[in-house]
Each structure stands twice: as structure tokens, then as C-alpha cells.
Assembly symmetry: C2
Homo-oligomer: 301 residues x 2
Amino acid sequence: MAVTPLTLPDRFGAVTTACQDHWMATTSMREALAVGTRPVELAGHNPAARPLAPTKKNRDLRNDLAQMRGLQDRLYAESTADGTRSILLVLQGIDTAGKGGVTEHVVGSFGPIGVQYTAFKAPTEEERAHDFLWRIRKRLPPAGVIGVFDRSHYEDVLIARVHDLVPEDEWRARYDIINDFEAELVAGGTTILKCFLNISFEAQRKRLLARLDNPDKHWKFNEGDLEERARWSDYQSAFSEMLERCNTDVAPWYVVPSDHKKYRNWAIGELLRETLVDLDPQYPQPKLDVAALKERLTPPH
Amino acid sequence: MAVTPLTLPDRFGAVTTACQDHWMATTSMREALAVGTRPVELAGHNPAARPLAPTKKNRDLRNDLAQMRGLQDRLYAESTADGTRSILLVLQGIDTAGKGGVTEHVVGSFGPIGVQYTAFKAPTEEERAHDFLWRIRKRLPPAGVIGVFDRSHYEDVLIARVHDLVPEDEWRARYDIINDFEAELVAGGTTILKCFLNISFEAQRKRLLARLDNPDKHWKFNEGDLEERARWSDYQSAFSEMLERCNTDVAPWYVVPSDHKKYRNWAIGELLRETLVDLDPQYPQPKLDVAALKERLTPPH
């Protein structure tokens, strides 16, 4: 399960060696994409890999949506009785990695009643006046709901670190705070699926160029994106340490190879599907006197 | 446009006369389903009508989802520049009328990033301690977003009236308060689409029976549903007055015949599509020096 880094990428180069073939031995997406328990370097994860994918490219990369919707319905139904369970999908990744695409294509497959989506932007003045988890706690999914975090509390050990927004001892302390926080959520009934959308430097280049080539996508572009890109290496270090420090038993990280969009969506769909299957939610079975109720519904009532 | 009631239903009977054929003269769903400006009785609206539907039953009742998604994307994009516009879809209707079905099938067709769904349940103690619009204001859609209210502030002139939760002079005063409130929202850039899902007494009977026949739907059933049904006439009166008093120029009501589920979904999809077409949102066109940016993206950057 653990991943041993074989090579380091050149300063801004593409990863050339994949060592994620431990997945050959499993049929579980959660096992295939798990970070493992040993220290990780992102360099050891190939962003163009396709663990568990059928061999023909982009074929059959479809999730069983009917099964997923059915299970989602049960999860929601369960919460109307005494169910306390929920799912929290955390999406992290550098600009263009595909957080929006996953939301559109994967999250969009679920029914809106049981989904709560939140994009965390730069914190407002009010949010900055509180501890970094304050705004996160306000958006946790209630029972029965699949919560989606498009960016999350992890920004506070990512951008906060890369841009020196807080002193090092402050962001370093956050790894433990986050682990405690997530353990508390899990104990309360939330299953946390933390997905790091892993793309290569070259894939990001192509996607940014594609945005520039399409005037209808210019609104997604700002020059700050290129300045962030110039800090690629710093972000890779920050991501690696996040994956290492916050890969806990109760809330493990998954590294999702994201150079191939269809694969990325399918893989995250599978992570959700497997999680729902394991939760095995059930429809509440209230004791109804069906015969008597039907009698009350015979015309003209 | 205005609807003249022709007959009243018997106490608990089905509506037998349709007078909604004013829609023969229009191709706009908003015109076809408008309440009109004269006092209305729900008795004048046939819940099984299919205004504007193609003649073959349940055929071609498909919205142009690609167009709708494209327009939604533009509405959202617009808000990232200086756009202030949003849409608020209000769904009202008696139990089983299909608020959940519309959410699933119509709202679910849009991308989750630009949708904010809220189901208003019986108010909490905290909510009751504030004026009735307090909890509503907290869930208004921000710019760029399609907000969906599954029940709404209208409950405060419906269940509050039928169950005498507040004195008559208090709920009577709310019509004007609601009209002022909605005018304020519209002035702020929100287009409000208020849909009353109109089903017949008989259609509700069949749907409740169907729930009883399916153990997986028992969780949706409680005996209180039948007590509410026994107040059908009171609710029809409350709905009628709501439609009359709050059918304003800036925020008109639409009566959506909802005995046929596919028709109902299609019709509300069309109301949304027409609204989006009229808004005609545009992608922001920031001034980018595309050539210079591309240069910065030539390898190895």
C-alpha cells in the first residue's frame, strides 16, 4: 500500500516515473489511491496514471449512477429517522486541477436535496477574525447529506504556508489541529473523503493555454494564476507535507491522478460509490398501520 | 391572460372544468401559466391541464438542458465580475405535489456550483424568536446563483393560517410584507419565479396510496399527512388568497398543473429556461494581454 518515491521531478518538469502500480493487486479504488502510511513525496505519484481503469482509453469510465443515487436517497432517508451519518468530500488541488469539473460531473450526478456544496475563497475579514476552522464548521454537512468542499481548511497549510500568511510555527501547529478536528467529525458520523487532484506542471500549462484560447473562459483567468504557477515547487512541498501529516487512519488522503479528466471524474465517483456501499444506508421502517391508512384513503377522503 | 373561474369544485372533489385555455394564444410558458391579474380561485385551474405541451402524451417533454446549462454558466460567470443578478425559484404545493420531484429532475439538471437549495421545515425555536422573514433572508441566493426554496415564506400565510398558528390580523398583514420584501429582492437583481404546484384531491390520494404500497417510501409517510389532507378545502382557500394577494407585477405567481409529473417538470424547466434566456447573461470579458500571457506559458514555464 505504501508508496516509495523512485525519482524526483526536475525543478518544473513532468514526473517521468510511476510507482503507483501497487494498485494492480486491488479492486478497491480507495486502496488503489491511498497515500499509504509512509512519508510521501508527490514525485512518486504519476498524475497521468489510471489505476483500475479498463485498458481501452476513456472507455467504460462510467460510474453506476443508478446505484449511487439509490444509496444517496437511503442515506438521506436514514437521517430523517435517527441517522447521524454524512459524507464530506474534500477537493484540493492546484488551479486547473479539476475541482470544478469534479463538482460538475460527479457531484452533479447526485440529487440536490442531499448535497451541500461550498467553495472556500480567500477568507473575509469576519472569517479572518476567527480561528481558521470557524468558517469550516459552519458548512459541515448535516446528517444524510454529502458535503463538498471545493478547497477547505487545508488551504490554511497550503497558501498560508507558501505565501507566509502566518508564521511557520502557526501553520505547523495546524496539522495536529486538523487531525483532531477530523477525528471529531468522524466520531460524529461523518465519513471524510479527502481527494488531492494531482496534475503535472505540463498539464496545467496546457489547461491555462486552453483558457487563453477561449474568450468565454477568460473570466476564469487572472495574472495571479501565473504567479501561483511560478511557486509550483513550493506548492508541491506543501501538498506533500499535508498528505504525510494528515493521512490518518480515520481520514486518509487519496491522491487522484488528474491529468486525464475522464479518469479523474470516474475515480472520484468510485471513491464515493465504494463509500456509500460500505455505509450501506437503509430506509427507515416506521411502524405504519398500512391497512388502516389505506382505508382512510378510500374515496371520497 | 386573466383567468375567470367557471366552476367551484365540490367539497373534496376533482376540478371538472378547465378554463386555462387562454394559453392557446401564446408560446411563452410564463404567459401560459400566469395567474393573471384578476382575483383567482384555484377551482379555475385544471391540475391535469398541459398548456403548451405537444399533443402526444409525455413525448418531447424535454427541456433544452444544454442551453440551460450554458446560460447558467454565464449567469455564474457574470457574478464573478460585477454581475448582481440571481434567480429565486419558489416551490409551493401541498404534500405530494412534487416539490421534491422538481428539485430532483429540474434543479438537478443544473450544475451544483450555481445552485443553492433550501428546504424550509417547521421553524426552530431560534427561528420563531425572529420575524418570519429572518430565516428566509439568510438563504437568499447570492449573485450568479439559482436559489431554490422548497416551501418558503409563503408557509407563513398557509400553514400559519390553516392551523391558526398566529392571529388572523397577523397573517393578513404578511401579504403586504411579502410583497414589499419581494420587490426589494427584485430591485436588488433577483428574478423571482413563484410556482404553485397544483394537484387534484384525487391525484394526492393516489400518490399517498402509492407511498403506502412501497415500504421504501414509508419513511415519507406520517399520519399527520392525512390530517393535513382533511383540511384540503382550507388549504385551497389559503392558496387562492396567496395567489391573489401576492401576484405582483415584479414577482408574479405561476400555477403549474401538476397531476402529470412529466408535464410539471417540463413546464418548470421551461419557466427557468425562458427566464434565463431573457436575462441573457454574458461572460465577462476582462482585458487580458493574451499574447504576453501565452509567452509566459511557453516551456519550461
